[in-house]
Symmetry: C2
Subunit: 158 residues, 2 copies
């Protein structure tokens, strides 16, 4: 493994450890790297910020986009101290970085009672088989927004 990879991941791991030591949130850290430099960091802040979406990867992606003034992470690599949960993996796909590195696995996370594995299983199921009650209603009315989007001359695609 080259020195850069190892250094960047060790910084994500250092963040994950200090987050626990400080009682600031879950044992997760993340850094975003561009052109050989760390441009953003994130730690899990779910309980301290009352935000269930404030996972390390989401925080790091938001910080990186703010730093770059863009909504896309072209040319960036993401180093996460743990394999991303489906929410964070989805966010990573939307941010479109070049590469993803992770250290702990989702099975490791499940072993300390984090729901990642459960959510992976739920998302893969048909809607009607999920534990979360889910129902589709009013599709015909909602299609209007999609029609307007298609016809819009002022939209900014992403």
């Amino acid at each position: 493994m080259n020195k850069g990879l190892s250094e960047f991941m060790m910084e994500a791991i250092r963040l994950s450890v200090s987050n626990v030591e400080e009682g600031a949130g879950g044992p997760f850290g993340c850094v975003v790297v561009k052109e050989g430099k760390i441009i953003a960091r994130g730690v899990n802040q779910v309980t301290t910020s009352n935000d269930p979406t404030a996972h390390a990867e989401i925080v790091a992606i938001r910080n990186a986009c703010a730093a770059l003034n863009t909504f896309q992470l072209d040319g960036c690599d993401i180093y996460a101290s743990c394999e991303p949960c489906p929410m964070c993996l989805g966010a990573i796909y939307w941010a479109r970085p070049d590469k993803l590195f992770y250290a702990n696995s989702k099975e490791d996370a499940a072993a300390i009672q984090f729901d990642d594995q459960f959510i992976y299983e739920e998302i893969a199921k048909p809607v009607e088989e999920r534990k979360l009650f889910t129902q589709q209603i009013l599709r015909d009315a909602a299609l209007e927004a999609f029609k307007k989007w298609t016809e819009s001359t002022i939209k900014k695609e992403y």
Copy 2:
């Protein structure tokens, strides 16, 4: 369908339509309901806020948690104008609401060139088969944070 369901979803749809008309972002809206009242709203703000995670559901969940001063949406229902993408569905599982309603389907979203379906397919694949280059490194070092979490006497679980 009862009147409440229809009213709440029509508000999510209204938000999705006005977001397009104003050129403020993608054709997506969301409301969070508790005890028969809308407690938070969200629209897609990816391009206007330079934040790839600012989907309608994420914005609404963050607003709802801020309004309730909590990181869990117990007793809440989520009304999304479109079936949530994997990122948002993951966020919904972490927020733990009672029910989820949606209008447009992910196939409808794919038909107007949104990546939801692609991301669902990617997430379901083994890591090594995904289009996003992904590599696990330094697991042994990262496990330290999980060990510290297990042993921590100051942690707040979520």
